[in-house]
């Protein structure tokens, strides 16, 4: 048993933390939040240079990491910094699928991802699917050597910036079947592909995607026909570890901001943090934060294990519950200042809470946990 980071991970963590604290302050981020792109190309390039993206891929895939703890280290720091750049979407989801399912040419694109020159987006969720991973009603129909895609994809994060969308579509089976789902690499400029983009509550941008007779060559299919679900599950498992770690990192920031506030702001001549009611509530946040950190460790440590899905469900359930507590209590203990958009905590709290809405909230993951525990 060993709870120490390897030297490489420790170095990555240190340099990323230093970079973000120097270069990604509230002012910079607020500008990014207000920008049309919803992200900064400069920051993206610098993150790639730092090796942040490469750390998310194995050596085989062209990176120098790719294990659960690599993901956890990177995303904890991104979360701590409240980073809105779509590392999860381009690297974990998009890049992860290319690396797992792609042919040689497609796998070569991972290099561009790692280098920071290519954005990707996973177009998987659909208007009626909620968090159901297997609910795919977008269709893929062979037409000669081509495949024609029809359907609607909802809240596709990073769609506008992506050079390619990874689109899930059904080649056979009913709406909820795991069999029959394929993944296609669709260029952003494909005819029949329409995006309706918008900013998101917690920063960054997403789009509603319509596929109206989008025709791609059969070679655009990643892997075998109808067999895409397992890889989808894998990258979403990794994304869940990333989200859990990111949220935990954001919680860490929320707690630190709260501590600073409680020890700075005075009432009756004393820092308000010395009043017992707030001090005790703050202690509870610290305790729960340790729980969240342990949950991330459990999930990251089991990313390659047979207990993967149950551990991930546990981690995301716990972090969703604790996250809401930390976000709400941090705001409450700050008072009015935390209600203002430009204050650091407002953004951090939104990152924490809105994570619920990606790949399942506390109840969804609790149900998964119950199901997987019974199995």
């Amino acid at each position: 048993m060993d709870f120490n980071l390897t030297e490489e991970r420790q170095m990555l963590q240190d340099s990323l933390r230093r970079y973000l604290s120097d270069r990604y302050d509230t002012g910079v981020r607020n500008e990014i939040l207000d920008s049309d792109d919803g992200m900064s190309a400069r920051i993206w390039g610098e993150l790639a240079e730092l090796g942040v993206i490469g750390a998310l891929f194995t050596e085989e895939q062209g990176g120098f990491g790719g294990a659960g703890f690599d993901i956890a280290v990177v995303f904890e720091e991104l979360g701590r910094g409240g980073v809105v750049e779509p590392v999860l979407d381009t690297a974990i989801l998009g890049g992860g699928l290319l690396a797992r399912l792609g042919d040689e040419a497609q796998r070569d694109m991972v290099e561009e991802v790692i280098g920071g020159t290519l954005h990707l987006a996973l177009a998987h969720g659909e208007p009626a699917a909620r968090y159901d991973l297997s609910r795919v009603e977008t269709t893929a129909r062979a037409e000669g050597d081509s495949i024609v895609l029809n359907g609607r994809k909802s809240v596709v994060i990073n769609a506008e910036a992506a050079g390619y969308l990874l689109v899930s579509a059904r080649e056979s089976g009913g709406a909820f079947d795991r069999e029959g789902i394929s993944l296609f690499l669709v260029p952003a400029d494909a005819t029949g592909l329409t995006l309706r983009g918008y900013p998101m509550m917690s920063g960054g941008r997403a789009a509603e995607v319509t596929l109206d007779g989008v025709s791609v060559p059969a070679s655009a299919r990643l892997g075998e026909a109808g067999k895409g679900f397992a890889a989808l599950q894998e990258v979403i498992a990794a994304a869940n570890v990333a989200l859990a770690a990111e949220t935990m990192g954001a919680m860490q920031s929320a707690v630190e901001l709260t501590r600073d506030y409680l020890m700075t702001r005075k009432q009756f001549g004393r820092p308000i943090g010395t009043f017992q009611a707030l001090a005790h509530r703050f202690s509870d946040l610290l305790i729960e934060l340790e729980q969240a950190r342990s949950a991330v460790i459990n999930a990251a440590g089991h990313l390659e294990s047979g207990d993967r899905d149950r551990q991930i469900a546990a981690a995301r359930n716990l972090i969703a519950r604790v996250g809401r507590l930390v976000a709400e209590e941090s705001i409450q203990m700050h008072g009015g200042i935390a209600m203002t958009q430009e204050y650091e905590l407002a953004h951090i709290a939104k990152r924490i809470v809105m994570a619920d809405h990606r790949f399942g909230d506390a109840d969804y993951h609790m149900e998964r946990f119950i199901e997987l525990s019974a199995a």
Partner: protein, 396 residues
């Protein structure tokens, strides 16, 4: 003990319903239901409709143009407004300043200001809080110095709700800097068009412009704008605060919110079944509904006590705390109900000419969740309320 409304009360409820059916425009209902901001014109229009009926000021005496309803009637009225998705009555002139002027204002002040509140000529805002002072009015810093026939006001107010629409502000200012704590505070009426006043927006975490900072730089205020006596402002402020708290439990808002969550949970599906049949979602919904049923009765007990002349004391604080917890829990359920479609930024999802993003109801839910964190912070934070409750109930 009788939990039923009397026949008179029932008849009153019917009268309110009939009025709302007839006079509340569908377009306004839809906006309120969908969480779309009405703007000043929308609020003014609704106030005008209510004023024509004589119902704009339920708690004012008839002598001043109010409806002079008792507490149970007011409660029924508030419930029906919320259920019909009527806009809330903007409280600053009607629920806050009005009662203060009626009780402590001069005849001249009453004659001048009260009709202008009813007619909509004046939009008032509240100048109580200051930056960094939280809910602690006693540490007030804005100064007013008497110079001849004027006070010269310098300082800064914060969290001034809808101050961007206001042409008047009622302010607490410090007139005696040597007096300790809550002494030495006065209650001033200030024309927002006076030179030296600047209003700056504060954008809240949901992206909306709802509150403001107001800066005073050598602002000249005629002495006749002083309400009551100099240095007695704290008395008037406390009186105002008890009035602010008449609908503090927000039962009507919570009920309307809960109904909305149920509608959403019937429309949304999880695992191929309506979300409302999901046992975990149903459990959360049931518990908050059960809490609300009890709080509605707590509220009625206090309201009917108030109707019988008992002053609501520490009970207001209890209603504030529990009422905000319940409303916030409902907001949380609502955002969770819509799954990924909570993510789009509200104004993009809701406003403009485009179709909404995702289901029509989804757009404002995350924003409402974040915006309503304010409920437990502003107007005397829940921590302050708990302190008041403990002090009164343990003081023994």
């Amino acid at each position: 003990m009788d939990l039923n409304y009397t026949d008179e009360e029932k008849a009153f409820r019917e009268e309110v319903r009939a009025f709302l059916d007839e006079k509340l425009p569908q377009e306004v209902r839809d906006k309120v239901r969908r969480g779309i901001s009405l703007g000043k014109e929308g609020h003014d229009e609704w106030h005008r409709i209510l004023n024509e009926k004589g119902w704009l000021a339920p708690n004012w005496p008839k002598a001043f143009g109010g409806a002079e309803w008792n507490a149970v009637q007011r409660h029924i009225f508030e419930e029906e407004l919320a259920a019909a998705h009527a806009p809330r009555i903007v409280p600053f002139g009607l629920s806050m300043l009005g009662p203060v002027l009626q009780k402590f204002g001069s005849k001249e002040q009453q004659d001048y200001y009260l009709p202008r509140i009813l007619s909509g000529k004046d939009w008032w805002c509240q100048g109580y809080s200051e930056p960094g002072a939280g809910s602690d009015l006693a540490s007030l810093k804005t100064r007013a110095v008497r110079e001849g026939d004027h006070y010269i006001v310098n300082g800064q107010k914060a969290w001034t709700t809808l101050g961007q629409y206001a042409n008047w502000i009622f302010c607490l200012v410090r007139t005696d800097p040597d007096a300790k704590q809550q002494e030495g505070i006065s209650f001033l009426l200030i024309d927002m068009n006076t030179p030296g006043i600047e209003v700056r927006p504060i954008i809240l975490l949901d992206g909306e412009h709802e509150v403001n900072e107001v800066f005073f730089d050598d602002v000249k205020v005629p002495v006749e704008n002083l309400v009551g006596e100099e240095n007695k402002g704290w008395t008037y402020a406390k009186y105002l605060l008890t009035h602010e708290r008449t609908n503090i439990a927000g039962v009507g808002f919570s009920q309307a919110g809960l109904d909305a969550v149920k509608r959403i949970a019937r429309a949304e599906s999880a695992n191929g079944k309506p979300l409302i049949e999901n046992p975990h979602f149903a459990a959360r919904l049931a518990q908050v509904e059960i809490d609300l049923m009890a709080m509605a009765t707590t509220n009625l007990r206090i309201v009917s006590g108030a109707a019988a002349g008992q002053a609501p004391g520490v009970e207001s604080s209890m209603l504030k705390v529990k009422g905000t917890i319940i409303r916030q829990e409902i907001n949380d359920l609502a955002r969770r109900a819509v799954g990924p479609y909570a993510m789009p930024f509200a104004s993009e999802a809701v406003e403009g000419d485009n179709d909404p993003i995702g289901p029509e109801y989804a757009g404002p839910l995350a924003a409402q969740y974040f915006n309503n964190r304010k409920l437990s912070i502003f107007g005397g934070s829940n921590e302050i309320q708990r302190g008041i409750i403990a002090k009164v109930k343990m003081g023994g």
